[in-house]
Symmetry: C2
């Protein structure tokens, strides 16, 4: 598994899909994931440290994890099937490891809230990555 970082969020309000870019931490490989506007806004809000007066859905997700005494160990983009990425939350809880299937968008929205690392399986990264250029550094 390769550790990644969120390197860019591209929100185009007229588009059905938004884009987040993950880039290899300390490396050059990068790839985009198309996500929905709600999840993109949830990620963007946290990255820009904007507060909401009420807990929005991803804030609630974060609260549930912490209130139940669990710790988000990492998220993993674990496969790509028919151009769709699949991910999982890896959670430490009561001394054991629990994995929960998630869309990458939800997983990243939670990871940025809980300062959890973002990983991608090497074979997924090999399949989709291109080389980062200087534009991919906007987060």
């Amino acid at each position: 598994m390769i550790e990644m970082e969120l390197s860019k969020i591209v929100i185009t309000e007229t588009s059905e899909y938004q884009v987040i870019w993950l880039r290899e931490k300390g490396g050059q490989r990068t790839f985009p994931i198309l996500i929905g506007i709600v999840e993109a806004a949830a990620i963007d809000r946290k990255v820009r440290d904007l507060q909401s007066p009420r807990p929005l859905t991803h804030d609630l997700l974060t609260s549930v994890i912490t209130s139940l005494g669990a710790k988000l160990d990492r998220i993993v983009v674990c496969s790509l099937q028919n151009n769709t990425f699949y991910a999982k939350l890896v959670v430490q809880h009561n001394g054991s490891t629990v994995e929960v299937d998630s869309r990458p968008s939800d997983a990243v929205a939670i990871a940025v809230r809980l300062d959890a690392p973002i990983f991608v399986e090497e074979e997924v990264l090999q399949h989709v990555s291109s080389r980062a250029n200087n534009e991919d550094t906007e987060v």
Copy 2:
């Protein structure tokens, strides 16, 4: 606390806010809550038993609760301040009770997925309720 049931979902795609109606279980009092389109769609999808090919955010919330061995005991619409409803999830976990603040919309979306009862504090209900008529039975 008064047990309620979800009696109607009104989705108007041209509107910024959607409406869910809660009605006193076995009673006549009812009131509306304005919610966002994403949460309304999440509730509607479950009520109509529509499957999504991937876990959407409220499905993920449900998975997190169950994967961590917790049980959603109930949700409670617990206060109304400045025309805004506040709610909480009441979760049983490791032999104790955990409460998590939530918007009512997220709470209802989770309650319908986990077959958990929906309660409202009596003083909130007294403040906002009207009498149900026969139109309020569409769920």
